[in-house]
Symmetry: C5
Subunit: 359 residues, 5 copies
């Protein structure tokens, strides 16, 4: 994530091109060209997977609820066809293709559009977090989800949908819409929990023995948090829109109540990110202080050693002089007295340093 | 508290699970399975404690005010039964179980829900503060409180309730609701007072003799304040809701007046926390400055000592040379003159340093 | 003030106690138990001072304007009696007793309540500022002021009240209310002026010769400003309330105009405090830079001295070696040449350092 | 850009002069005096380029849409004539001439005025970014654009206009207005992308080997971002105006939808700038830490070397003394023992340093 | 300006004094006691200058527009008379006398009051900026301006007024009001331009050769900007009031359009000040880094020199020992070998340092 976080693909950078021509400038993660349709109502449940988008669109059942899922945003022709079928505004389709889009909710006459980042659960060893842009369209009786990569956090929902007794089957499609967004927002918690562990671990390491690697790690954490904050902040606002009366009437009052809950989660995530930013900047201060303290300690000891030897070396220098008339040199106890003198100087200095609490 | 403060249990992290299934992911602090009911009106007062929640719910007197208190959030079946009996929304019950929930007030058709942190009074020696999540439900004639651990700050209220002449017995149940929240908010003061003492004490210690332990202590204080701030900030907003006309009409105008007072307290607490944050960051600067000043002082003295000895050691070196033709060496007063020369150099240097105010 | 500023007495910390029982937890500054009544109208002016609060309350003239002044908040029984007589809400009386209360204005049906800090003019030598909590109640025909300590900034007002021709006598009692608050807010100016002088003085001292005492002084200034800011910020909002139409109608439109002026003053004070905070943090940077510059200067000079002597000491060391075959030693001009060599080395080094602008 | 960014020409600084006299105080970049007119409707497309502004204005076709483009703001007489012809307020014309004007949208009775900065695409090698002030006037059937320099990012639009089947020809002139602003805003992305690359590159360089040049580069980046932020922040507000119902009715509801998209882009740009500011200040910290770490490492090694030699030099000094009675000197193994002693001292010190992890 | 900027005269500090008594506590800059009246309409123009304010007030022509200008705020009696004549509220007159008043606009029934700082153009050599408080009153057919000192930026306006064909003569008096404020706001640009030049110049100086004087200069710039910001921030709000419908109707819709322009200028000034604050704090960082880099460079070179000589001095010390049995001393090539050994040590160390890129 680190590199990606500040190397934006900026896919909207197409100065002069008219809007409406679908061009995907993100990376291609999958060869998949099939579209997935889940068609369900209280009684029936059908699942179709096909390369042929026209077939899928024909299968869309006006009397059931339909969830179309597309993986791989480079399939712009498929997206165009879906857009044409459901009468979606070209700018919305453009937003779907923009993998750097900030989270946003937008309502049109006949559908609700929601786009946000999804974080996938990671293997324990992996250092990098895996995320992708997900767009969700809620219509009267359909939901369309667009994903960058294969694999998501929605499998539990799909399983539940197959179960006739699940709440998902008994409720309207707006409840499924809520459950999808709720699952994606919940995927942030894992991400944040990982960051919290990293911060705690790093702090312990720095206390133990600060080294320059730790600073780099704190910098990386800081950058991840900057990126995460940018992804989550607008989310709050977008979800807030879901909790209010929509002009489309696509979201029922009951489901609005559930979105209030998601809204609480998004605020909790934002507050935790802010707290982590505080803690991370504290880590950097801690690193600086630790390194500086350690360095000071070393320099102090070294300087004290030097300072103790310098005067006695001087005394040795005195009696190394070659003057003819130096009575001490010929004295019987000259040498031992000189050594005692040196010892005396050392002791006095040590006492002096000790008294001043220099070591 | 330190560790806990940034190792969130994030109990809401259950991606894909439907809401409504009560799952408690917090720690279990108590074996207690009993529920406590206080049933009272102006004339009578009854207290029941039982393992059997059905029994308790049967004892709820529709003509009295009833305060049900549950300790131990892992008793999810008990909470379910209470929720079913009083017709509480599943999401509210989930919020009750979420021990990391930010303070919030929520009104429904028939009840008011309030959740916040409670700080318990501590033994003097204990370093750690003890806190827990408390949820309070106010209905037409009942209050239900949910606690994580045994022991709370509400015993004085319970005693007063038993007293027929107390204001609590003479007023409606919304007054009890106010008194409970007021007591919990008051519990923050003790916490803050402790922090204030710690800050003051730490400052004095740093002025006296800064050591690296102080920095760690300041860091810990800083983290405690970050955590506390996160807990108290949303509280203001939650209490503010209580001071306004509620659609439920559960809180009378008289009691709203009392909540204004609690609101003032919450603002005071927030302002004090902000002030302490300022002071704590001042402490860190103070530590850095103290350490740096002390270090500078040491290095200066040591370097001055070295610098004084280096030139005279050089003079000794000169007369330690073995040139054949060095007239000074054979001079009768060569040695004493050399010593005087050295003394002269030292005196000149000392004067020079003194003049420049280097020591 | 320093210590007091972050050792809050937190008198509202009485968890579990019902509101309405007047308990004073502040310090007791005075033995005074008397209450002071100024009763006046356009024609008459009466002043009564008595230990007997009942007597005072009897003397309150319904056809005049009455200003009751109480000193010493520990006289809770007197405050209770006054509260009972004027029908004041128990929570307001509690606020009167809370000497840590933030500035606030509150209107009730029949009175306006205003509480704020008052700064007293100080002897020149005194380092500490003297302040206290003052509460003011404005009713239809009375004003009640509650003070912690003896002595205030209102004596000029009392003198003017005695003067039949003064504006105070010709206007309604809301004008007196304005004049009291105006006088108290004006008392902040003196405080701020002192701080400005201290900052300026400190800056000059640091430029002259920074020492560690200056840092402590800057820290103290910073803390005073943090405290002051906390006291003044809410004041603005409180005064703003006075400038708007009150539901009580106690403040006439004319007087509102005057409060606009006080409002301007409060904003000016806040802006000045913010400016001083900026300047104070600049002072700390200045201190750090000064100390660091001075230290650097010292270390540089000392290191240059060492560096110059080290090579020539080495040369002396060379010719102090005892090798049998060292031709230079026996050379007639060996010694002077060696000395010249040393001189040469010193000169070359000095030129090198000079060129690099190291001194 | 660097220099320009804080050397404002401040062309509005003409204290005392009446508004309405057109005076251009910016730099003159072009000798061009011709004005360019594109006149088009669904069927026809005409392009005229002439030195004679009167001719151009005569050619303005009331039944077509007309886009007049003027390059070189020093041609104040031409601007006056255009202003007179289209009845433009003198203050708007003044704003056109002010090359330091902040982005703004202003609506009048008969036209919409929009001014902002345009960034031109740069050669790869060029370090400096090229930007200029562009003003756009939208009237009932005309658009007038004013540019400082030759060359812009609008050529694609001009080409599309010549194409009868393009959306531009099929839509109203407000769509062209949107396309012009969209193209200019898109030009910011390139600019930002470059900055992102610079930041990333700089970070890698600092990690590799920090040198003082890097600090200057980070400072320059910081200043560019300060400048860019100042240019983009007000843009958001200006574009927001376009998305709301205009009193002029010049922008249709359909086009407003497109401006929402531009609005999203402007927010994305602002957020990216903020992120880059964070990253840049992180770069500075990184530089400081790297330099300080490297310096510390050097000093530590050097000091360790000195400290090891000082005690053994002292020993050599001892046996260089000229006392008559020094038994060791005459001992057969005195010399080798002394050397071993020195070696021993060195080994002990190395072990000591190693144990303390000093190297 | 420096000193003045944080030594507020705080003329409103008159605790206890009733409002309405005009007391001037600012400095007295002029001996001038005369008042200046410009009386004009489309046809006539008259200019009167007199010591006698009553005379001036008599000359005020109800059928013309009248601009009264007073210099020297210590002439409180004159101000009183003017206030009495035009029926101005005492608090407004007090605001006129308060030379530390923050910019503000206030409307009354019959007049508009505007007060702000005016910056005068400076001689090139002068370091200090010259500013003063100016208050402007707009009535139905009069404008009164109050200045602290002689000399202003309004002379161009006076000249234009004398010119029958000027816009000023053809418009209403509110247009003159706009022109006065516009001229004063424009005077800020010069001030800001100077600051921009100073910042740029200072930056170049620091890059060239940082010395402690630069830090003081950056500090002074910072303080000037703090002061300037305090003066300009409230200005925006004050001017915004002029752009809205006034209850007095003194400002026509046409003139409101002009004030929008002044409003843009004030925002531009504020944004530039903010940018300069950023740049100035960048300057301080730059200074610190430069000084620290330079210092590090010096210390590094010095320490490297010492470190190179210490081992070879030790070797010299070895062969300066007086052991009887030191075979090397008697060796024919002992001395040259020792010298070569030393040379070898130096070369090895230089290579080592070079490899580690220490110089």
């Amino acid at each position: 994530m680190k590199k990606k976080s500040h190397k934006h693909k900026l896919s909207s950078s197409k100065a002069g091109l008219p809007p409406g021509d679908l061009v995907y400038r993100g990376e291609v993660y999958t060869e998949n060209k099939s579209v997935n349709l889940l068609s369900f109502n209280t009684k029936s449940f059908e699942k179709i997977d096909s390369d042929n988008v026209e077939l899928i669109l024909k299968k869309v059942n006006p009397d059931s609820f339909n969830w179309i899922n597309l993986v791989g945003l480079h399939n712009t022709d498929v997206i165009s066809k879906i857009g044409y079928h459901f009468n979606i505004h070209p700018l919305v389709l453009e937003d779907v293709l923009n993998t750097e889009h900030r989270p946003k909710a937008e309502e049109s006459e006949s559908y609700l559009f929601f786009t946000l980042k999804m974080f996938k659960k990671q293997e324990i060893d992996s250092e990098e977090n895996d995320y992708e842009q997900v767009s969700i369209l809620l219509g009267k009786n359909y939901i369309i989800t667009f994903q960058e990569k294969e694999g998501d956090v929605l499998d539990t929902i799909r399983e539940k949908l197959a179960d006739e007794n699940s709440k998902l089957r008994k409720n309207n499609i707006d409840y499924l819409f809520y459950r999808i967004i709720d699952s994606i927002v919940d995927s942030y918690y894992k991400m944040i929990e990982d960051l919290g562990d990293k911060i705690e671990h790093l702090e312990d390491s720095i206390y133990l023995n600060a080294n320059s690697q730790h600073y780099k790690m704190a910098q990386d954490l800081r950058r991840e948090l900057i990126f995460l904050r940018k992804s989550v902040y607008p989310l709050r606002e977008a979800i807030a829109k879901m909790t209010k009366e929509n002009s489309t009437g696509l979201i029922s009052e009951d489901t609005q109540r559930y979105f209030t809950d998601v809204y609480d989660h998004s605020i909790h995530i934002i507050e935790t990110i802010e707290t982590y930013r505080d803690l991370t900047s504290g880590l950097m201060d801690l690193y600086m202080t630790s390194v500086s303290n350690k360095m000071n300690e070393i320099m102090k000891v070294l300087t004290i050693i030097s300072t103790i030897f310098i005067p006695i070396t001087f005394i040795a220098g005195i009696y190394g002089m070659n003057f003819k008339f130096m009575p001490e040199l010929n004295h019987r106890w000259g040498y031992p007295i000189a050594l005692f003198l040196m010892l005396g100087v050392v002791v006095v200095m040590l006492i002096f340093f000790k008294k001043r609490k220099w070591f």
